[in-house]
Amino acid sequence: MRLKIDPLKCVRCGLCEVACSLNRDSVLTPMTSSIMLHVDDKANYFGLVLKTGGSSVVLARPEGTSSGQQAGSSGGPGAKPILLREVCDLCEGSPRCALICPTLCITVVD
């Protein structure tokens, strides 16, 4: 099982980040999520970054989705660097981000 992200369906509502943190810490915050919004407001450029391994990430950018390594020096989107975040554990079989995503941007596939 894995998460499939269709970035063009994203409306940057941010619910995935908060749902992820809720599963981890039972509180509302985007700070401890494994999935992160990446936003450049002025250019309306936005997508999602999903931490899948130690330094492995899925970059769901508007121009396409790819897997890669997070650069060690990169802070990533937001105040808490990607490297300090937990790896996505798929919420033990029922990923919250996919459950709450209102546009089916994030879905679960086998």
């Binding site: 509502c13 619910l15 908060v18 749902a19 509180v27 915050t29 309306n44 508007p62």
Partner: protein
């Protein structure tokens, strides 16, 4: 206390001192309303205070729970100025560690308030005074090292304290139809910025999550396909607007966005990050309607609203004045109005039509909805139902709150 920080920050711009007060939630929806609480804080700390706050539901999973408010002293109509704070700014304000912030006095020198993680500082910003609202936002984010900092910025019109000025949230206009921008100018503030790593506790996280998903799915089915601003207003349902449409964007927690970004300086179909400032985010319905009314096409309307946002000027008013000084409104006539806020002051002052304020047919429902931290536009569209929303209370705040007390 659930969904709250339990803290009010009272910042005196003259002394640069922060005093904290404990925040105690009321027992009814009416007493829990952001607007009622802000009124009480103004009575206590001075009517000339600028008050920022968030609703009890702000940042929850209740659909479109994105809203905060800014409250300023009474305008010419005798009513307190009230501005919804939409986008991600409301949620971020809550995560900054304060439920409410009271800004008192006047700063001796131009500065911006920097609110984060339970702290508030006045940062000297002499150099930002000469920048437009976009450049101010860029500078604050760059200086503080985080691109997700939410910035309520002023521009030249706000600095001039013009009643038709507009506070700009993260580059975009449409929230401030009451002249909160002028209150920034009066306090010698070029911006208010906030960011937080806060965490909000819920009484029953699992129950709330499940109930919210059910409600959101019902809404999504009921609302059907989303077309951004065109789903909310016929003003965006025209060919030249759709031709420039890049992507639609939601505020925090919104499954049915009303924000439509038009690209004007590159191909709207360009998905890569190429141009830095290729367009503008439309959600100001009355301003866009006015732009079309005075004869601008979608491209020039977008440029005009962008110019107004950069200047911190309320776009409907600017376009109205542009039509008074020119038989055919062009971007040059918009520039002419924007160039000198002092000159525009000589024109008759009228309140612009409401944007989010016009979501419902009545002011009371608007204030009830906004006061809870919910987007009035979304909830007017989907059908605001107090008993339905009240059902969330037990899982969110750990007690029932009767719907009839709204």
């Amino acid at each position: 206390m659930y969904l709250r920080n339990g803290k009010i920050g009272i910042f005196d711009l003259a002394s640069k001192e922060l005093v904290e007060e404990e925040f105690v939630e009321g027992s009814s929806w009416k007493r829990m309303s952001t607007i009622s609480i802000a009124d009480d804080l103004a009575s206590k700390h001075g009517e000339d205070s600028l008050i920022l706050g968030t609703g009890v539901l702000t940042g929850s999973f209740v659909p479109s729970s994105c809203a905060g408010i800014a409250r300023g002293p009474s305008g010419s109509d005798g009513l307190p100025r009230l501005m919804p704070i939409m986008g991600f700014a409301g949620f971020e304000l809550k995560l900054s560690g304060f439920d409410f912030i009271v800004v008192k006095g006047v700063s001796e020198r131009p500065g911006y308030l920097w609110v984060r993680d339970g702290m508030i500082d006045l940062v000297s910003a002499e150099g930002l005074r000469h920048l437009d609202s976009w450049a101010r936002t860029d500078k604050v984010r760059a200086d503080q090292g985080d691109s997700k900092i939410q910035v309520i910025a002023g521009g030249a019109w706000c600095d001039s304290k013009h009643p038709q000025s507009q506070a700009i949230i993260d580059y975009w206009g449409g929230d401030d139809k009451s002249g909160i921008g002028a209150e920034l100018g009066k306090k010698n503030l070029v911006a208010i910025a906030f960011r937080g790593m806060g965490e909000l506790e819920l009484a029953e996280p699992e129950g709330h999550f499940e109930d919210a998903i059910l409600m959101m799915r019902e809404h999504v089915v009921k609302l059907g396909a989303n077309h951004g601003l065109a789903s909310y207003s016929e003003v965006a349902d025209r060919g030249d607007f759709k031709k420039l449409l890049h992507r639609n964007v939601g505020c925090y927690g919104c499954p049915f966005p009303c924000r439509s970004y038009l690209k004007i300086s590159e191909d709207p179909k360009e998905l890569r990050l190429v141009a830095k400032e290729p367009g503008y985010l439309h959600y100001d319905i009355p301003a866009l309607r006015k732009a079309f009314e005075v004869g601008l096409d979608a491209k020039d309307a977008t440029v005009a609203l962008m110019k107004c946002a950069k200047a911190g000027a309320e776009a409907h008013s600017v376009l109205k004045w542009a039509s008074e000084i020119s038989s055919k409104v062009t971007l040059a006539s918009v520039d002419e109005v924007l160039a000198d806020p002092a000159d525009a002051k000589r024109s008759r002052i009228e309140h612009p039509p409401g944007n989010f304020e016009s979501s419902f047919g009545d002011t009371e429902t608007y204030r009830t909805c906004l006061g809870m931290g919910l987007c009035p536009r979304y909830w007017a569209k989907v059908g605001f139902d107090m008993p339905e929303v009240s059902l969330f209370a037990k899982d969110l705040v750990g007690r029932t709150v009767p719907a009839r007390d709204a």
